[in-house]
Amino acid sequence: MMRKLLLACLSLWFFSSHAQDTFTVNGVKDERPGLHAFINATLHVDYQTTIENAVLVIQKGEVVASGKGVKVPKGAIVHNLDGKHIYPSFIELSSNIGIPKADRNGSSGPQLGPVKDGAYNANDAIKAYFKAHEAFEANDSDADKMRKAGFGVVLTHNQDGLVRGTGTVVSLHNGPENEIILKESASQHFSFEKGSSTQDNPSSLMGAIALIKQTYLDAQWYKNQNEMVDISLDAFNKNSIYPQFFDADGDKLYVLRADRLGDEFGVQYIIKGNGDEYQRLEEIKATNAQLILPVNYPEAYDVEDPFDALNVSLEEMKHWEMAPENLKLLTENGITYSITSDGLKDASKLPAMLSQSVELGLAEEQALKALTYNPAQFIKMGDKLGALTTGKYANFIITDGSPVRKDTKIYENWVQGNPYKFHDYTLPELAGNYKLTVGSEDYQMEVKGESGKEKFKIVVNDSTSYDVASEISKQLISLSFTDESKDEAGKIRLSGWLKKEGLSGNARMPDGSWAKWSATLEDEDTSVDAEEKEEKEDESKASEMGSLIFPFVAHGNSKKPLEETILIKNATVWTNEAEGILESTDVLLENGKIAKIGKNITSSGAREIDGTGKHLTPGIIDEHSHIAISRGVNEGSEAVTAEVNIEDVVDSEDINIYRQLSGGVVASQLLHGSANPIGGRSAIVKLKWGYSPEEMKISWADKFIKFALGENVKQSNWGERNTVRFPQTRMGVEQVFEDAFTRAREYEEEWEAYNSLSKRDKVNATAPRKDLELETLVEILNSDRFISCHSYVQSEINMLMKVAERYGFRINTFTHILEGYKLADKMKEHGVGGSTFSDWWAYKFEVNDAIPYNAALMHGEGVVTAINSDDAEMGRRLNQEAGKTMKYGGVPVEEALKMVTLNPAKLLHLEDRMGSIKVGKDADVVLWSHEPLSIYAKAEKTIIEGAVFFDRDNQIEKLDAIQAERARLVAKMQGEKSNGKSTQKAKPKSQIIYHCETEIQNYSSLK
């Protein structure tokens, strides 16, 4: 096959200017000089250097000389490029051109281990062994599309797996692979998508991140061990010398995630982004990463029907408007990037897209730099690519103008000194108005369109004209038309040639007689008017741009809320302290802290909020939440996944953050789901709407992890296929814990033994393998990390407490804990808290004895009791849920409030700074319209660290602003539509609202 292809290529390029010395020639050797000189061109030597009237000389695929006054060597084939431009051709860094697509060959049932045969990695998604240059097979039809768009060179790699092996740099010349591979291994590639692997793990984004981290650690260990062979790890280590590329497919937060991942291992990735980086500029800038950016700007939405228009979200509309600004904003912030055509329907759309950005203020030379110089630097080939100076590859395009403008024509694309011709620049421009004389008759003839594609018309008057059929081939032209003013039927047929200032030749009249004809140019067609108009339009477009909001979702703010000095006057203050409820009391918030509580407090310069008739409470804390998490809350693929971490996947753009704020919630524990006995680590965040994931995380919080018991972990309700993974019974669940902690203990001992070696002995010993899962479990054993365990039935609750006691630690919290009331005394004795639902039950068999009195009973036994949500909707009315403990079991109102404030603060070890209104604590407070646990209570102001994050008083204003912005964008989109631009149908987005039980099976592998 290979050989055949090779032969085909050879026969096409038998006169190749390169010699392929190892191959036998059928016939006589046919190596040609390949010496070309391009004269009179406007030569863009690189993105920033333009030389008028320059000469470019190339030979055998390389630039020999370029510039002004360069002598044309003797014998060179001379190309006169008068009025034409030469640019270095573009370099594509995100491509899989020529790489065969991977097959998926796993079974449909659970797949707990890898299926790839051979001495490969424990996970099929780690494909570091893959070498793009070995798999590469030239594909000229794909290459041709790229060439037409102005590309000359591509970095191609296998876009499959988390670790994807090396990439190879190839030219787009239709030559044998031996010649067009310019650099065998130029890069190593990563992504968050496991691709064709059918192995269950990882099933979530956080699982993917953890697996990549573990791979780094394994590779480190692998270097110094001799116990086993792992081809993938070996390759991973070898590939570390190349530039490392990360495809952060998703949104701007994925770019931040990729960068953080690299930081952990001292690797600076070159990151492929998503075109929405402008939405988190500050954070993107701080990564210091070089980026590869798509320009797949969305089409306008069809918003003609107002009901259908409802389906377009504000953020989609705004992104439609702002996406073309992305590159400009990144440039202004000093971020280095290259541009990819990846993500476009086809590469030919590239200039149209870039044109939009240029219209919005992106400097043309920046765009050129990002297509030539930067990508060359990224793959460390600046010496051979990206410019047209001596010694570089002869990779360039010949155009009639800037290739980042939409109407620019690329005549030819030269790759490694080989021409690919798309338009003949030697053809004359015919457009204009002519006087056509055929025999004795005169006509007005109008010619429009670019050379080679002209449209001819006979114009009688303003309203009447008729078409002329035309054919132009090199220097010859034939035209035919019917003179409709004449009675005689039949066409007048003209055949002729081009000459200066017009055309002439012989005509055959309808009656068969011959005549002479000629056409004289009267005036050139100038579309200046049209251009001017367009420019004017562009100006108005630029002035009308909307502004950024944080986060980039409806209800986002144009500025992140900032800390203020706030004095709340004359409120009923629920302190959660010994003082209890204080009537008509003032509270001063200063520097993000509660500064003063008392009567008649004054503070100059403070923003005063009248609390008369209102109630001030500590902010609500949700011990169990799954909001603000990207791509999966469960890494349910294995029984123990302590290596995964919700902190890696916090999603600051989730509208539910704002919705929680509207219910007085200030902080949440974002938990892993309950699909496995030992789940992932949690993130504890304050709901700082508009801030980045890192800013939301409470930096001083203790570390937590999710465990789970019962039906979910034994997969009772997962269908008939899922009966394989251990455990399938509650008996098995205990053994999972026993096994995990036994292994963790041994792991710790192994490390202790190693660490206690002398320096000299260490040199001779092999360091144990660092295992993220076991590291986490060791933290638990040493009470450096705390467990929040999903639980329902008393037997298993009891079991886990006993397991913990055997291993010398305590369970911190049982969450859900619906049968906690059955063993509240034992819980108290163990010292564990309970975070429960107020009244959920009946959704599965194990909750049949769940009673709404649970909280009251646990509380009565002295167990620290909280009410949690596990649900984005319920999370915003936890005050109501706490209120139910008064109905069921008669919990006093102050104690009930503590169940959603101080008690969860205790369970999360936040109580030193949160959970009550006390001088010195964080200014995390809520002002309510009514008694806080009443159904009639609405959170009016939700304040975190002295900044107002939710204000009911400005809701109308906010909604009006949203409406106005939508209206503006709708009008703008309608403008696009009436200008004839294509639009896309509006389809609503739907959010997955995660619960504990949300099991997203292999979110990426099923794509």
Binding site: F307, A824, A842, E861, R876, R877, I935, A937, S990, I992
Partner: protein, 434 residues
């Protein structure tokens, strides 16, 4: 083999669960007239009597009056002193699967969804389990009637109005087979989130599905016109009531365009009683609904808005927005069957968002009774109506106040304590003794 064993164990354990927990016996038939004295009465029709006297006899209300005005001889009466308490008509839960589903995750306990697309002849009341453990937890919070409704398919079946304290479904039924439930096709299909989709897709079968509905209804109309068809068609037989006005057509749909299209369709088919169920986007077509006098049964207020740009509390405001537009609204609570007991709080939330307590209460009492055609019997505290009422220690719409002390259905005093209260007592006693 293993599988069979598992199912066997499951069935056994379900059985044993039912054996161990017994739903309390229904209240005894009213033998003596009863008077509730001095309670704050919320009549369900929007009116209140601050200091009321309410009497009932043989299960029928005989007096609803102002205690400061009326004088009655109560010597024969059982008198309930309810000063400081609140009395309400029993709340009505619209469009629920109560009695049809026991444990959501256990298939054997699910009886709401029959196979097939057009099942108007399938009747919810047949599967209604009076001994469901969900029922006592629901009436414990003041919900005394339910429209028990099948799910699934294009036409799910027929719903009935049931009281929530009975020995069997025949005793429980207040109005049988009162409505046919049509799940109108959606122009959009839900994203396949398990494939990573977040965007709805166009339903390319929409026109076809519309046509299927149309053909079915036309056939049903034709069957209705033909007085003596040669062969009996059970499906079409069940549809007759829609054309003679004895049954209502409940159209389940949420989006504006589907709302308009489905209702236009139903009216063109000559169906007199049309009710919209769901109606998430009803506000956008409020004028259309008002013009055609279409009542709406809204889903619970305790849910998230469907769009990011919506006001954060749009679902809470929706009942009031529609009310202001002059539309008759009932509030339902059908997300999960265990949540039916939170209907009062869903209504309380609507009250807080502009509706006011009495107007909100009406949306779970008189309005649904009118919509379902049982307002001559229930839905308000009025002379001649069935004595199904709740005496609560406090405001029934608020968590703290929702403490029913006396609950009557058809004048029979209902036992409030059931499985959950028994477990509470069992363990409270244990801890109290320790």
């Amino acid at each position: 083999m293993k599988l069979f064993k598992c199912i066997g164990i499951l069935i056994l354990s379900v059985l044993s669960f039912f054996a161990k927990a017994q739903v309390p016996a229904p209240g005894e038939v009213q033998s003596k007239p009863i008077a509730i004295m001095n309670a704050y009465a919320h009549l369900g029709n929007g009116e209140v009597i601050e200091n009321s006297v309410i009497t009932f006899e043989n299960g029928i209300i005989t007096n609803v009056a102002d205690a400061t005005v009326i004088r009655l001889d109560l010597s024969n009466f059982r008198v309930i002193k309810a000063e400081g308490m609140h009395v309400y008509p029993g709340l009505i839960a619209s469009n629920t699967i109560i009695g049809l589903e026991e444990i959501a995750a256990v298939r054997a306990t699910r009886d709401q969804d029959e196979t097939g697309d057009f099942n108007p002849n399938v009747r919810a009341l047949i599967a209604y389990n009076t001994d469901s453990e969900i029922i006592p937890t629901t009436r414990f919070n003041g919900v005394l009637y339910a429209q028990t409704t099948p799910r699934g398919g294009r036409i799910s079946g027929s719903s009935s109005i049931m009281n929530l304290d009975a020995w069997n479904w025949e005793d429980a039924v207040l109005k049988n087979d009162e409505g046919i439930h049509l799940n109108w096709p959606s122009r959009l299909r839900y994203p396949r989130w398990w494939l990573g989709e977040t965007e709805w897709r166009e339903n390319e079968d929409y026109d076809k599905q519309y046509e299927e509905v149309q053909i079915f209804f036309k056939d049903a109309a034709s069957y209705f016109e033909i007085q003596n068809p040669e062969t009996t068609n059970l499906k079409l037989e069940a549809m007759k009531g829609l054309f003679d006005g004895s049954k209502s057509l409940y159209i389940h749909t949420d989006r504006a365009k589907e709302i308009v299209q489905s209702i236009q369709f139903a009216l063109e088919m000559g169906i007199e009683q049309v009710v919209l169920v769901g109606g998430d986007e009803a506000y956008y077509v409020k004028d259309f609904l008002k013009e055609n006098e279409i009542a709406v049964i809204l889903e619970e207020t305790l849910r998230l808005p469907s769009r990011t740009a919506d006001p954060v509390d749009l679902p809470c405001q929706l009942p009031n927005l529609l009310h202001q537009a002059g539309i008759k609204v009932a509030i339902g609570q059908w997300g999960e069957v265990m949540q039916v007991r939170n209907l009062p709080f869903s209504v309380g939330t609507a009250a807080a968002y502009g509706l006011g307590k009495e107007e909100a209460l009406k949306m779970v009492t008189l309005n649904p009774a009118q919509i379902m055609g049982v307002d001559d019997k229930i839905g308000s505290l009025e002379k001649g109506k069935i004595a199904s009422l709740v005496v609560s220690k406090g405001d029934i719409l608020d968590m703290e106040g929702n403490k029913p002390e006396y609950v009557f259905i058809e004048g029979r005093q209902v036992t409030l304590e059931a499985h959950q209260q028994r477990l509470y007592k069992k363990f409270k006693d244990k801890f109290d003794q320790e």
